[in-house]
């Protein structure tokens, strides 16, 4: 991935353009108050349960993983995509059919392995829909 996430004025569509799966979810990157925040507008194909309706748990997991990876790239200035080693997702609330947001922070920045925590929310950031914590491996060039 050849995107400069360290630049606050980067093209928000760059990630989606270069990563097909981000484009499939309609994920956009932005910087708010110096913090990297991902945005995912609702689309019909993100639905997991049409009866509720609710966003698929796998969409939520994917979105959180994108937030974690983006944060790792931003802080390590990695030029190769970091590899997930393991992730755990805790689901707190139903993902409603509205715009979702996600942000991540590095818990422990190791030389090769990075521990990351990510949160997803919708209208209210103090009420997360789901959180992720996981380990990502920095890929040597």
């Amino acid at each position: 991935m050849k995107i400069d996430l360290t630049n606050a004025a980067f093209d928000a569509d760059a990630l989606a353009d270069s990563v097909p799966y981000c484009a499939h979810l309609g994920v956009k990157l932005g910087v708010k108050d110096g913090r990297l925040v991902l945005e995912m507008p609702f689309q019909d194909h993100l639905i997991g349960n049409p009866m509720v309706p609710a966003i698929h748990g796998g969409v939520i997991g994917s979105f959180l993983e994108m937030a974690a990876i983006s944060q790792v790239i931003r802080e390590t200035r990695a030029t190769a995509t970091p590899k997930p080693v393991d992730i755990t997702i805790d689901y707190f609330r139903t993902g409603r059919p509205v715009t979702s947001y996600a942000a991540a922070r590095i818990v422990k920045l190791g030389r090769r392995v990075i521990n990351v925590h990510a949160e997803m929310w919708q209208d209210d950031e103090t009420k997360p829909v789901a959180v992720l914590h996981g380990h990502f491996l920095i890929v040597a060039e």
């Binding site: 990563v19 097909p20 499939h24 993100l46 639905i47 796998g58 997991g61 992730i87 755990t88």
Partner: protein
């Protein structure tokens, strides 16, 4: 519209229970997000399921290598586990994912199908335990595995 509704409802319920497994499999095979990924159900048996995901450009997470995004594996494992639970239940009961852990052993080989096998391990009053496996050619050389905990939306009495 309403005349004889109770009777029709009762027979419809019986039919749903009888065909619950296949109805559920059909419904979960039509989940919009899974359809959008191209995921398909290969086989459903009590408490077990096998799904397949053909390789597609839209699934790619690393354009340099063509490897699919980890989130794709997460989504398919979550869905497979949910389906394995549905096929283990005797009657319809709504349940939601509490947590899901994924271990990524190695990247999926690009331009090849990925298979997902899931199993419902235990159903209790409130909580359900399931696990899943993602692999390509060889089931023993898996690319990822998952452990998930699910919860009934309403406590079970049966």
């Amino acid at each position: 519209m309403t005349g004889g509704g109770g009777l029709r409802e009762a027979s419809a319920m019986a039919e749903i229970q009888e065909n619950w497994r296949s109805i559920m499999a059909v419904a979960m095979g039509k989940t919009p997000f899974i359809v959008s990924l191209g995921g398909e159900i290969v086989e459903v048996s009590p408490a077990r399921v096998l799904m397949r995901l053909p390789y597609a450009e839209k699934l790619v997470g690393d354009p340099d290598t063509g490897v699919v995004h980890g989130g794709v594996i997460t989504a398919m494992l979550d869905h497979s586990c949910g389906l394995a639970i549905g096929s283990a239940l005797k009657s319809p009961a709504p349940y939601v994912t509490l947590d899901l852990r994924i271990d990524y052993m190695k990247p999926a080989r690009p331009r090849a199908d990925i298979m997902f096998e899931a199993e419902c391990l235990k159903i209790t009053h409130e909580i359900i335990f399931a696990r899943g496996l993602a692999f390509q050619d060889n089931r023993d050389d898996f690319i990822a595995r998952s452990t998930g905990t699910f919860m009934f939306s309403r406590p079970q009495t049966a």
